[in-house]
């Protein structure tokens, strides 16, 4: 989704001229578009009075920011320690095989983005996968197909 200038104005209005709100603005923009389009970064630099290089510096440093468009569905596989020793890698590989993309990428049709994260703090549920914000505790490689089908169905409903 490409942002409209008016919408970017609305998102940055309350932070105008406040460089220290940089991370908050970027979070608001990403909440809206699911990624940080280049024109949004330029807009932020101008609105907050921060050099563009610093905006890029922050946007690339933190993991929750994406400079690539993300899919309609986001699949996150947790690889915290508890998930790791209970077989999280096999779950991630299952997603990679099903979706045909490695972790960190979006499928060519723009439907799915696959991400790995270093711990979601829900270790009692290990191994854990989160698809479109829904938690799937005690995930296994064998359940990947059903989980993706559920995401697909959610979109139609």
């Amino acid at each position: 989704m490409r942002p409209e200038r008016s919408e970017l104005d609305a998102l940055t209005a309350k932070y105008r001229g406040r460089p220290r709100a940089l991370i908050q603005v970027l979070q608001d923009i990403q909440d809206r578009f699911h990624w940080l389009p280049p024109e949004a970064l330029e807009h932020v630099a101008e609105a907050l009075g921060v050099p563009l290089v610093q905006v890029y510096g922050v946007a690339t440093f933190y993991r929750s920011f994406s400079l690539q468009p993300r899919g309609r569905h986001v699949c996150t596989v947790c690889l915290g320690t508890a998930c790791h020793i209970r077989g999280g890698e096999a779950v991630l590989e299952g997603f990679e095989r099903r979706l045909g993309v490695p972790a960190g990428r979006t499928t060519a049709d723009g439907a799915y983005t696959l991400e790995r994260v270093n711990c979601l703090g829900a270790c009692a549920l290990a191994p854990l996968a989160v698809v479109d914000g829904r938690y799937y505790p005690q995930m296994t490689e064998a359940k990947v197909g059903a989980v993706l089908a559920e995401a697909e169905k959610g979109e139609k409903a």
Binding site: P19, R20, A21, L22, I23, Q24, L26, Q27, Q54, G57, V58, F61, Y62, R63, S64, F65, L79, G80, T81, A82, H84, I85, R86, A90, E93, G94, R97, V117, N118, C119, L120, G121, A122, C123, A124, L125, A126, G133, R134, Y135, Y136, P137, Q138, T140, E141, A142
Partner: protein, 625 residues
């Protein structure tokens, strides 16, 4: 109106919610209405009980009956039997791992019996979204006392006398930190709560923020009064959406009640708090990096001293403590420093919350007095390792900590003894590992994590963790040599001594402790090219026992690599060249056949007693962990 005599408390923590607690709650409400019991029975949400693996959890009050793993379909029977006929449903109760009979009452369950709740004092008693619940449990009484009856000096003195040490990891005395900041002549000053819990395997901060956000806010108000701050920040991980939402709601309620803002409780004291969401960087948990992040910059740590108490946010004096530390403050003010100092050991006072996870029967969050032994936590509270397997080690303190072997489980849990064992308290993640966990693989896991999360500012951490991860990857791939072990130790020493911040300084700990306690496993990898725990893919093989295989073809259908072939109803075979070692065949092979074998080469005669190739016993099936 009559007040309801029975309360059904449904746990609303992340663990229970993800397993359908809200659906169970809806079903309960409907059933209660259908039966016309609304006047007698109240259904309420409560905070996390910590027994997350058993969710959704329901506690019936006042009788204390504990139900677990509920489904909406169980609800009509439960209401009919327990509430109407007065016969608690045994089939929905918790059965201890080494017992047959269910334990009906919460107080009789081993997981809860040995705990001492201080930080988690309101566990299961309050609805985290209702400030009145918190106030009914003595909430904000400590803040009121600190603001009206105590001087800033007497608050600092109480915290110092209590012996409270920072629960974020290193255990710095909290009172000393506050005193240093209070003594600074410059103002304004700031108060910060570090809720950037990035340690893999730890989730106590998440739970406290979700379950009892007012306890943290109250601690922050007291801290602000002690050092003279008018503003504070709650920095919470972006990965914890429920914690952000609950803390936000709690702030609004506190403002509404005049507990935040100007002229708090009519005492003339002004203080307000703001939530800052983290953006996903492990290093943000380091205090100087976290402050940079609040300022809207990249989370780079800087050299200390000067410490934040002297030069913190925007160069001004700042006290920063983590979530669990703040939650400890109100009870100390309310019940006195002596009471707190009476708990724990001489150097480590009070309690510590641990997240007990991994290969353990009773997974969840536990709060214990300092000084309890590891064995008591793992055996008595955790119920030991499931599936009859032997416990091998426990990893404590995340990437900053280390692995402690089962032979050392009698050590007391406090800051000093964990450090002496090569580990550290860290934030309190406790990951139990059994004989099916490869310690070299675990070390590689943590080093990859450190490499991935290093901010890159200093070379020893940036390049050193990468070089260590490369060496470990070679060892798990069967390409390591005995010299690699010496190289690893040498690198670990350099990274430890030369890194700028805690991330790099502690990153080698998982390697050093596994080398110290499990050297034989490293040697098996480099000398014999075998992985005794049957984990490292390059060193294991899958095969099918023709004697046991009946040719049901389940494995063939499940194999993602098409590596299994053979005639139907006859023994199948795995093509080792095509096998990707994902292990799906092993998990789908029915228990009554157990035809799939996972093996590692036999130990060579030169390095130990000859033995047959190790064969994996049948593993636990899905849902049986």
């Amino acid at each position: 109106m009559t007040s309801p005599g029975t309360r059904l408390l449904v746990c609303a923590g992340t663990g229970c919610v993800s397993r359908g607690a809200f659906e169970v709650r809806r079903a309960l409400e409907e059933e209660i209405r259908r039966r016309g019991l609304e006047r007698e029975v109240l259904v309420a949400a409560t905070e996390c009980h910590g027994f997350c693996e058993r969710g959704p959890i329901l506690l019936v009050w006042p009788d204390g009956v504990f139900y677990q793993r509920l489904k909406p379909a169980d609800v009509p029977r439960l209401v009919e039997e327990h509430l109407i006929k007065g016969r608690p449903v045994r089939g929905l109760m918790y059965v201890p791992p080494r017992g047959r009979a269910p334990a009906p009452l919460m107080k009789d369950i081993g997981f809860f019996k040995r705990q001492r709740l201080l930080v988690l004092r309101n566990r299961g008693r309050i609805d985290p979204e209702r400030i009145d619940d918190y106030i009914a449990c003595d909430g904000y009484a400590a803040a009121a006392r600190a603001l009206s009856e105590m001087t800033p000096e007497s608050i600092v003195a109480a915290i110092t006398a209590s012996g409270l040490r920072g629960r974020g990891g290193a255990g710095y005395p909290t009172g000393r930190k506050w005193a240093a900041c209070a003594a600074q002549p410059r103002s304004p000053k700031y108060i910060v709560c570090n809720g950037d819990e990035g340690d893999p395997g730890a989730f106590m901060d998440r739970s406290v923020l979700e379950a009892d956000p007012h306890s943290v806010i109250e601690g922050l108000i007291i801290g602000a009064r002690a050092i003279g701050a008018a503003r504070g920040f709650l920095y919470i991980r972006n990965e914890y959406p429920l914690a952000v939402a609950r803390a936000g709601k709690a702030l609004e309620q506190a403002r509404e009640y005049g507990l935040l803002g100007t002229n708090i409780l009519g005492t003339g004291f002004d203080f307000d708090l703001e939530i800052v969401r983290g953006a996903g960087a492990f290093v943000s948990g380091e205090e100087t990096a976290l402050l940079a992040s609040i300022e809207g910059r990249r989370a780079y740590p800087r050299q200390r001293p000067p410490y934040p108490a002297e030069r913190g946010l925007w160069g001004l004096p700042t006290v920063i403590n983590n979530v669990e530390t703040w939650a400890n403050v109100p009870p100390i003010v309310l019940r006195g420093a002596d009471w707190f100092a009476g708990l724990g050991t001489p150097a480590s006072k009070g309690t510590k919350v641990f997240s007990l996870v991994g290969k353990i029967s009773n997974t969840g969050l536990v709060e214990v007095p300092m000084g309890i032994t590891l064995r008591e936590i793992i055996e008595e509270i955790g119920g030991g390792v499931p599936g009859g397997r032997a416990v091998k080690a426990v990893q404590i303190g995340g990437p900053s900590g280390g692995c402690i072997p089962a032979s050392a489980f009698d050590i007391a849990v406090d800051y000093e003894s964990l450090k002496a064992a090569g580990s550290m308290m860290g934030s309190g993640g406790m990951i139990v590992m059994d004989e099916d966990t490869c310690m070299v693989d675990v070390a590689l896991y943590f080093l990859r994590f450190a490499e991935d999360e290093s901010c890159g500012k200093c070379a020893p951490c940036r390049s050193g963790t990468a070089a260590m991860a490369r060496l470990l990857a070679g060892i798990t791939a069967g390409k390591g040599t005995a010299d690699d072990l010496a190289r690893l130790e040498d690198l670990a020493d350099t990274v430890k001594r030369a890194s700028l911040c805690g991330l790099g300084q502690t990153a080698p700990n998982p390697v050093l402790t596994t080398l110290r306690y499990f050297r034989d496993e490293y040697e098996a990898h480099v000398l014999d090219k075998r992985c005794p725990a049957l984990v490292c893919k390059a060193l294991i093989a899958f095969s099918i026992d023709p004697e046991r295989c009946v040719g049901c073809l389940l494995c063939r259908k499940a194999c993602p690599a098409g590596a299994i072939s053979g005639e139907p109803k006859k023994a199948q075979a795995i093509d080792p060249a095509a096998c990707i070692k994902c292990g799906v065949c092993l998990t789908v092979c029915p228990d009554r056949f157990r035809a799939v074998r996972k093996t590692t080469p036999a130990r060579s005669a030169a390095s130990g007693p000859p033995a047959a190739a190790r064969v994996a016993p049948p593993g636990p099936k899905d849902g049986e962990r």
